[in-house]
């Protein structure tokens, strides 16, 4: 896996929102690389900046009030933040595609599913109507919708939730993107349908070989799907590494707490959940030190004064932003 070339390089990305209540520090200087055909899980709770960082990559941050303050995003050595809107439009859809959380609202109810999938093909690939329709049918059957050529003429309301998400994935795949960003694609779905979608994405990734960024709050799904994981908190990446290191050699107290909060189907009866006390910090008034200070059980004075930087923590590409990481070597999973 070390021979793959870098697909996406993010350096010091900062995104803020200027609201009436003050400046919301949504993403606070994150940097990481993604390799070709890598599956990266981005994990965190509401408001940790995981979706905003993905929208920043797509340059879909509404401006105003949002603004990408700082940083560089390279896709194959092309800086996405300096190219023109027109060039960016070419990139969206053809190089990076995105699947959103809610399949009920991200499809247009007044167009047929076929029209919506063909749109990108007509626009980006210069196909004629017949070609686009054939390719759409092909895509729909690729994502596992039976009788695809007939279902092209259905409207979104005739599809179930799982089928709509499949249609969204078909749409995202239409121009063979090298990176697929999936923003909580299964959160609105039931577990048995979620398992279908995860299986589908895994199969597609094996066949097509695109890179996938899977954004979620569910630590279970990424354990099944991803190779690497970024754990985000208050707009920072606080831990990053291979799946095994994150779950078995957890170095950050927040990751540890997050894993402890999860009940496990195979846990001993009567074990108490380890909850993290308190709430995430207000992104308008971030503390000057570590954002996790107020909830952390390992904290010391230094943590209050200074924000720790993301530094190597042993394992392959395992990085952690905590002053005390050397003291923590937990498997958040075994209690």
């Amino acid at each position: 896996m070390n021979n793959k070339s870098t697909l996406l390089k993010i350096k010091n990305l900062e995104t803020r929102f200027y609201t009436e209540d003050g400046v919301v520090h949504a993403v606070n200087g994150i940097s990481y690389d993604m390799e070709e055909s890598e599956i990266l899980g981005v994990v965190g709770e509401s408001g940790c900046g995981k979706s905003v960082h993905a929208l920043s990559i797509m340059r879909l941050i509404p401006d105003p009030p949002g603004k990408i303050e700082n940083g560089e995003i390279f896709l194959n050595d092309r800086n996405l933040l300096t190219i023109s809107d027109n060039e960016m439009r070419q990139i969206r859809g053809s190089h990076i595609a995105m699947v959103f959380q809610d399949p009920m609202t991200s499809l247009n109810p007044v167009y047929t599913v076929g029209d919506q999938i063909s749109e990108a093909l007509l626009l980006h690939q210069g196909m004629d109507k017949k070609e686009a329709r054939d390719r759409s049918a092909e895509l729909l059957s690729l994502v596992g919708i039976p009788d695809a050529s007939k279902r092209l003429d259905d409207y979104p309301h005739q599809f179930s939730g799982g089928m709509r998400q499949r249609a969204m994935i078909a749409m995202a795949l239409s121009c063979n993107p090298s990176l697929l960003i999936a923003d909580e694609p299964t959160t609105a779905l039931d577990v048995t349908i979620q398992a279908q979608i995860v299986e589908l994405v895994r199969r597609l990734q094996e066949n097509i070989g695109m890179a996938i960024m899977w954004i979620t709050h569910d630590l279970g799904i990424v354990a099944e799907l991803a190779e690497k994981i970024n754990v985000m908190y208050a707009g920072y990446i606080i831990e990053r590494g291979l799946v095994h290191d994150i779950y078995k050699q957890t170095r950050h107290p927040y990751t540890l707490g997050l894993l402890g909060s999860l009940p496990r189907l195979d846990a001993e009866p009567g074990t108490k959940l380890v909850s993290i006390p308190g709430l995430p910090p207000d992104l308008i008034a971030l503390p000057k030190g570590c954002p996790f200070y107020a909830r952390c059980t390992f904290r010391e004075d230094q943590c209050f004064e200074e924000m720790p930087v993301l530094e190597p923590a042993g394992g392959y590409e395992h990085k952690v932003a905590c002053w005390k990481w050397e003291k923590i070597n937990g498997s958040g999973v075994q209690r």
Binding site: E45, S46, S160, G161, G162, M163, D190, V191, T192, I193, Q194, A195, Q196, V198, E199, H217, D218, L219, G220, I221, A223, E224, V243, H244, Y247, K248, G257, L258, L259, G260, S261, L262, P263, R264, L265, D266, A267, P269, K272, L273, V274, S275, I276, P277, L279, V333
Partner: protein, 330 residues
Amino acid sequence: MNEQRPLVQIRNLKKYFPIYEGAIIQRHVGDIKAVDNVSFDILHGETLGLVGETGCGKTTVGRTILYLYEPTDGQIIFNDIDLVSLNESEMRKMRHRMQMIFQDPYASLNPRMTVGSIVSSPLEVHKVAKGKLKRDRVNQLLDMVGLNPDFVNRYPHEFSGGQRQRIGIARALALNPDLVICDEPISSLDVSIQAQVVNLLEELQEKLGLTYLFIAHDLSMVRHISNRMAVMYLGKIVELADRDDLYLNPLHPYTQALMAAVPVPDPDIVKKRVRIILEGDIPSPANPPPGCNFNTRCPITEEICFQEDPEFIERKPGHWAACHFAERFL
């Protein structure tokens, strides 16, 4: 605690929502069978988990037990009293003893009422306490759920999701109920906050001897909090057992698939696991398939499954399942 005595007995409970057609002359053309012939007990002091996917009828079961919906047919026996036979004022008295915690802590609290008036409203409605007695009780309740009693004059928007859910819990406990129906109380909360609320519910149960019906779609959380678990599919309970028995030896193919679909946050277990992926979607409850209603997705169907609806019977002590082939998995 007398564990074996049932607090609530549900017998052949049905709740159908009629479907009408026609603009002027309405014709009754069918029913959505949200709950279709369900029988089970909730024992004193236990937590019974009720799981299932969207639209399986789990919330309707909860609401019908509280008589928020009038059942189409069947009996709800609460402490030897059949709720179906009660008139309105008798029913109101029974409501002291059963309360509900709702899913959405944003929608279930009136934004124009202060925390104090939200928590005290059950006390007023049921004329339990007034004046200083009422204020003391509210302070006590807030303290019990881990909120600062000085917050009584604040409004719901000043609180986070987890804190709002605590307000909802305080309101449900105001009348000292025996039974609390928790309808997806944590599904709208973040992971780290979910654990806080679940731990609180467990503490309160121990302290106050509550009985919970815990409704959720998150299997791992339900297994964590429950003593026994029931699995619903398309208006019917397909399996009910002790939580470990249900997890280790599921007898119904739907339960097996559901267990296999839950993501496990542990890469080592993931590698070893056998995956069962169910095909297709849940059929509409207005038009369930003939025979066993799981036959459209079931991996082990045979002819009998399309003709006969399997009975929900006890396959071994304390373990009920509705499948023609349940014996195979014993």
